[in-house]
Symmetry: C2
Amino acid sequence: MAVTRAAIRPEPPTAVAYHHGDLPNVLRSSAVEVILEKGLHGFSLREVARRAGVSHAAPGYHFGDIRGLLTAVAIEGFETLHDELVRSGAGIDDPIDRLKAIGHGYVRVGIEHPAHCEVMFRDDVLVADDPTLTAAGLAAYGVLEGCVAAIAERYTADLPVQDVARLCWSTMQGLVELQSKFASLDAMLTRSPTTLDEHVDRFTDLIIGGLLDPQRRPKRARR
Amino acid sequence: MAVTRAAIRPEPPTAVAYHHGDLPNVLRSSAVEVILEKGLHGFSLREVARRAGVSHAAPGYHFGDIRGLLTAVAIEGFETLHDELVRSGAGIDDPIDRLKAIGHGYVRVGIEHPAHCEVMFRDDVLVADDPTLTAAGLAAYGVLEGCVAAIAERYTADLPVQDVARLCWSTMQGLVELQSKFASLDAMLTRSPTTLDEHVDRFTDLIIGGLLDPQRRPKRARR
DNA sequence: GATTGATCGTGACGGTGTCAAGATCTGCGG
DNA sequence: CCGCAGATCTTGACACCGTCACGATCAATC
């Protein structure tokens, strides 16, 4: 069973506006904009308010804190991550292929939603113990762990599912974070930069390829 | 002009003080204190200045920017990381054992110098393109890559050294970052928390154990 | 149609980063 | 021994920020 996800997905706009419109959603997307343009460093509640066309204290009313707003962004990030992981693995029968697809989905979220990713794991700017936040994070993790469990079930039952799942998660997270460092490393070696997807392919091959005894693996039913 | 000091190791106090003492070093250690107590969120140049007993603009003179000061802290962190990795692997002949020792050294730095680690990879609060910073980071990475190269040389020459080294680096980095998430996951499963060192052991076993064909591995010359 | 509560604006306070300009000390040439 | 130049630090100011208390405004309900 693992993880329960309570939260609703793209958060449908609160049907009818009270005063101004559905400010919370507007503020959240404005926040994403600001992070995107000025970075988390140049982020400010007042700038968000300005961009949303409301007074400087309006964000405080809905999110209480600056951390509250960023937490909302992080939750949204985890939810889209969860959805993307599910979507990436859907329809792929072989769990190993599914794991690779999930890995690609992970970095795809990192690429397409950099603002969210810049926040999701920065506990110091979030209310780290927000239950909705941890629930959303664990829900996304649950997708990965479920896939690893499926691998264990089909191939080698003695696979330490928890450890492997955490290994994969750590690797993906570290990869997203170290991406720039790797890029500068490639540049220093004067060779074409390695893309995130290439890294994912190589890493998953290295991890998975090693986990399973070749002869014990049944034929893979590809496609 | 950039802030880059010609960085030597523990930075011997500039022999004789000009006015106040060797302010840059004092400011840097004060900065570490502040990060430790108030977190990166509550960090401020003025607080650092107060703690060092100087005026509020003194840090700006030496480090130019708030990012300059944090960059200096990050550089110091990478340097101690480098030293610790070298120290951890010293005297261990078998490169696989050395890799595990290096992994433990990595998380040890994460535990013993949390303030530095809170900064080292946060490009948004650093001058990310500071050459001294990238050099220090690559130097630390080089220790890891050298160890993986030694594994390839002794065991399987066809090992993709770069990829494996990056895999290990990503894993360690992700592990340090996801530590709290894993802790809450353990708590949710109502079992004793897994320590960082345990994670390192399991991850390196999973990675290394899979990389080498068992029969191709020569007897390990332990001790 | 008045009331009530949610929603948002106004204004203020202390704190912050950063810059310019002035003060102070150090080392060095004379 | 003196004075000068430059490095080092302080002072002061400006704009911006987060957050709070309070007032204004609107929606829905009785």
